[in-house]
């Protein structure tokens, strides 16, 4: 993560612009995108169901229970995320200004196929579990600075971030009896991240501070996922999935350029005529937590089901242990029209912010609800759904400042998907 403090611009009231946007490409949360035709409408509570191509992602053991061969694909047709940092800036009149980030994207996030094979089933799927496409140009006028007699005339921020995580791979499941199956998925993992930030501060007295940062990460790895499903009763299913992303190679590059004509920067960057440039790289591989998802589903009738998941993410360096939950229900209003609803949590894996500390990462807990409707015609089904997420928390976006801002998150996603059984 790039911060501006390295270049001494910490003397100025400015924003650390290396923050991730809520909901996508977000290292602080684990439920960034709900994937799957049916699973998305159920809030992701799918571990104990998983009897279609989405099962390759949620619980590969479930595909052994698939009633048909099938394929399905889904896309987030409209995805709007907003994060508001309350009172992030102060103008010269003493008024507070919220800093708002917004991103919009269209993401085809899942495709999968399942084919029954005797007592087992094979599957193949592709999932985009994280995606950022943020393009933002913002400009603020008359901003107070730490130098009372030299306020900021213009503070301009340009952001251009792209960060996608892809999973692609086969699955296999075997049903040992009418009520027990095991399965595994081995995904190839690929992350392509490019973060570009430009920041320009023009002071009233004519000086300026300019910083450009550029960060890329290309990582390859794999994600093995092992699942079991047990049906202790005909109408009840219990599922467990264990998984972990293992990054094998990572190519990280950083590039930063800055110029400060104010003379406010510290000794290392005090030359007002110089353009400072730094380039570095490493092959440090990021670490991901071991994940265990436990789910239960109750198939009350051919028209109505309930499902629930608890998903555990282990504690890691600088990342807290997390347990997220998801609840979902599906019912058929008619034989060929189904409605689904879900509710889920997406807790932050960062520690709570403390007072009198600086440069802390933000902590925002998110809750989400989903609704979807599917129309079936013959062997196919088409789904339209919406997911709403909301959250609040705290952040410390001003470098080297103990000030804490309240943060609000508001996400809206409209997704479409289609499935075909054969």
């Amino acid at each position: 993560m790039i911060t501006l403090k390295k270049f001494g611009i910490s003397a100025v009231l400015c924003i650390i612009i290396g923050l991730p946007l809520t909901g996508y490409g977000d290292d602080y949360h684990y439920v960034n995108i709900l994937v799957g035709d049916r699973a998305s409408g159920l809030g992701g509570a799918y571990t104990a169901i998983s009897d279609d191509p989405s099962g390759c992602y949620y619980n590969p053991a479930g595909i052994a229970f698939a009633p048909h061969n099938s394929l399905s694909g889904s896309a987030n047709a409209f995805s709007l995320s907003r994060k508001i940092y309350k009172d992030a800036l102060e103008n010269t009149g003493g008024g507070k200004i919220d800093w708002e980030q917004e991103s919009f994207s269209i993401v085809p996030n899942f495709f999968g196929i399942v084919r029954k094979l005797g007592n087992g089933a094979i599957g193949f799927s592709y999932a985009v579990t994280d995606s950022i496409k943020r393009r933002q140009k913002q400009s603020f006028q008359n901003i107070a600075s730490f130098f009372g007699d030299n306020p900021i005339d213009t503070y301009s921020i340009n952001i251009n971030d792209n960060d996608e995580t892809y999973l692609l791979g086969p699955s296999y499941a075997y049903r040992f009896s009418g009520s027990f199956s095991v399965g595994a998925t081995v995904y190839a993992y690929y992350r392509d991240k490019e973060i570009i930030r430009n920041q320009l501060i023009i002071f009233d007295q004519g000086e300026h501070q300019l910083m450009n940062s550029y960060e890329t990460e290309i990582s390859w790895g794999y994600k093995p996922s092992f699942g079991v499903i047990w049906e202790p009763m005909e109408t009840v299913s219990i599922g467990l999935t264990l998984s972990k992303i293992m990054v094998v190679t990572s190519d990280n590059e950083f590039q930063e350029m800055s110029r400060d004509t104010t003379g406010y920067s510290d000794d290392d960057f005090s030359d007002t005529n110089a353009i400072y440039f730094d380039r570095s790289g490493n092959d440090d591989t990021p670490d991901f937590p071991f994940t265990a998802a436990l789910g239960a589903a109750w198939f009350i009738s051919p028209r109505l089901l309930f499902s629930g998941d608890l998903v555990y993410y282990e504690e890691m360096t600088d990342r807290s242990e997390i347990v997220n939950f998801a609840l979902g229900t599906e019912y058929y209003v008619t034989d060929s029209f189904a409605l689904r609803a879900g509710f889920f949590s997406d807790y932050s894996n960062t520690p709570l912010l403390g007072n009198d500390r600086i440069n802390q990462v933000e902590h925002v807990d998110i809750y989400g609800a989903s609704l979807s409707a599917t129309v079936f015609r013959g062997m196919s089904g088409i789904t339209l759904g919406v997911t709403k997420g909301w959250g609040s928390g705290e952040a410390q976006i001003v470098s080297n400042s103990p000030q804490i801002q309240d943060v609000e998150i508001d996400n809206l996603t409209i997704f479409i998907s289609a499935s075909y059984s054969y």
Binding site: S301, Y331, L339, A341, G393
Partner: protein
């Protein structure tokens, strides 16, 4: 985070989502349909026990439990037993007019290649079959149409059954 502190529109979203589902529980229990032309709802799971009422074809009933060849069902305010042979999980399809003459294409699945189909006797070879049976079968559609033309009104069937002391 406390639900109470969520914005009003989000609370409303949650309330709507959950309220929409509640009535579904009442109307979307295990529903089956009467598929036969006659379906007496019996007081007991025994052939010949008193019929509470006759359910017309297509009637949706709520299945409660089953016993042998019988379903215990409710229909409006009546609970009784319905023979499984007369029911199905989906409503009956509309009656089909009998097409005349030779084969007519019905479904739109002509895109399927013949290779997509297999039969148990595939190993015997398609051409073998044709040689063995070529010219050995005759088709008599005119007699079939004569049989199909014999229309018998429901009233006549009713009178016939009644005359025989039948149901």
């Amino acid at each position: 985070m406390d639900i109470m502190n969520t914005k009003p529109n989000n609370r409303l979203f949650l309330i709507i989502a959950m309220t929409v589902l509640a009535p579904a529980v009442l109307i979307c229990s295990d529903r089956i349909y009467v598929r036969s032309a006659k379906a007496p709802l019996l007081s007991k799971p025994v052939i010949g026990s008193g019929a509470l009422l006759n359910l017309p074809m297509g009637t949706p009933v709520t299945r409660l439990t089953e016993k042998g060849i019988w379903y215990k069902v409710t229909y409006k305010d009546q609970t009784g037993w319905l023979c499984k042979l007369m029911t199905g999980p989906t409503p009956p399809t509309p009656g089909q007019a009998r097409p005349g003459g030779e084969l007519e294409k019905i479904s739109g699945r002509a895109r399927k290649r013949p290779s997509a189909f297999t039969t148990t006797a595939a190993a015997r070879g398609l051409m073998d079959k044709r040689k063995r049976f070529a010219g050995k079968y005759k088709l008599d559609f005119s007699t079939l149409e004569k049989i199909e033309a014999m229309r018998i009104a429901d009233d006549e069937i009713n009178d016939f059954l009644h005359a025989g002391g039948l149901n």
